[in-house]
Symmetry: C2
Amino acid sequence: MTTEPLSRARILAAAIDLIEREGADAVSMRRIAAELGVGVMSLYNHVPNKDALLSGVAETVLSGIEFTDDPGAHWSDRVRTQAHAFRQIAHHYPRSTMLVVSRTLHSSAGLLPVERALATLRGAGFDGIDAVRMLRMFIAFIVGSLLREVGVTPTFAPPQQHRAVSAEHVDPELFPHVSELAPLLVSCDHEAEFEFGVEMLIQAIAVHPARREGTR
Amino acid sequence: MTTEPLSRARILAAAIDLIEREGADAVSMRRIAAELGVGVMSLYNHVPNKDALLSGVAETVLSGIEFTDDPGAHWSDRVRTQAHAFRQIAHHYPRSTMLVVSRTLHSSAGLLPVERALATLRGAGFDGIDAVRMLRMFIAFIVGSLLREVGVTPTFAPPQQHRAVSAEHVDPELFPHVSELAPLLVSCDHEAEFEFGVEMLIQAIAVHPARREGTR
DNA sequence: AGCTTGCACGTACGGTGTACGTACGTCAAT
DNA sequence: ATTGACGTACGTACACCGTACGTGCAAGCT
């Protein structure tokens, strides 16, 4: 039994593991300590408090994004690549993603993605202020998407017994469109929806008047 | 002292009031009961459990959106109006908004907005599937925006002492763009950003090939 | 009258985050 | 070699949480 000496990293790893296995609600200092076979208060030697621990989790997850940026590619391809890089965390760490998006990061963990994105947008021909605005719009869209994609499973729902609207009973008189499109509303191919949104945004960027196309 | 007989509505009102005054973390059954001058367990006669109570809060807030839809107006104006209607909840109930966006609604409280939005998008010339996709993209953007706008103040932060990046120290060598645009990144006019995003999305919709312009 | 029903309440249990005091290793200076 | 400081692991304790359970009271019905 190698009693590795406990560290912030081990604690964070255990926390992430626990979140992914049993959901964010299962996280407690006692639970994590038990998971590591260690006393509760020992954790506080490496982490100031629970809030900081969760921030650490968010940070760790966020910094796990694989960024393979090719500065030579067309800006639209770079945008696509970076958007998908963001979305990958929702696949690797579905439960933990909620933490990342619902928590205000007070660290510079997400600085590299921002740098890459700004570079791409400047490369697309925007000046500073518009690049920032575009980035913020993109982030809003991505965060919103991930929230929908991930929030569907708060901890463990009985397999989608009736997702909100469902076909159960929507008065076609009061809600004709909802009623007609109910089949489309109840199911959601997150992959496809995300793809669609990204393409729309790229399109929106492409036609924006503030872009100076040929600018290098 | 008129001892009004306690009801789900009064409990929800007290909960919302408490959330807005002291943040979502301050909400507990005991706290709400104390606020109403009532025993803790009396709440359970009107609300099955805390989770349902919070869902009720989200529902109440959501159904407070003022929708003044003019079916005769141009679709782009209708989109603008509806987008801003959504955003208004972030102003009336900033703290509670977090609940609305981070919680999976299992009720049909948000059905009317969906109906209006679909009507607008169909009116803009989209078929069913594209209307749903557009709507989902819009919702993702709006939710993401509100999350940024509201999440900045988790409960009560010291007045923005240094928002993540700040100018404190960003290596211009490693992060040239972030460094250069730091002044723009640290401050955020949410109103303007939202406006900008909405216009971009409207633009994106306007140029989308699947739209059949003249269709009635 | 009796009976049922529903609401307000108090108590109690198992859980939470964490402040505090303590015991035990390792290392530096004496 | 001894001493002391220091960091780490730990157990206990406190205040608070959600809520299961049982009790009493008032209103309405038969």
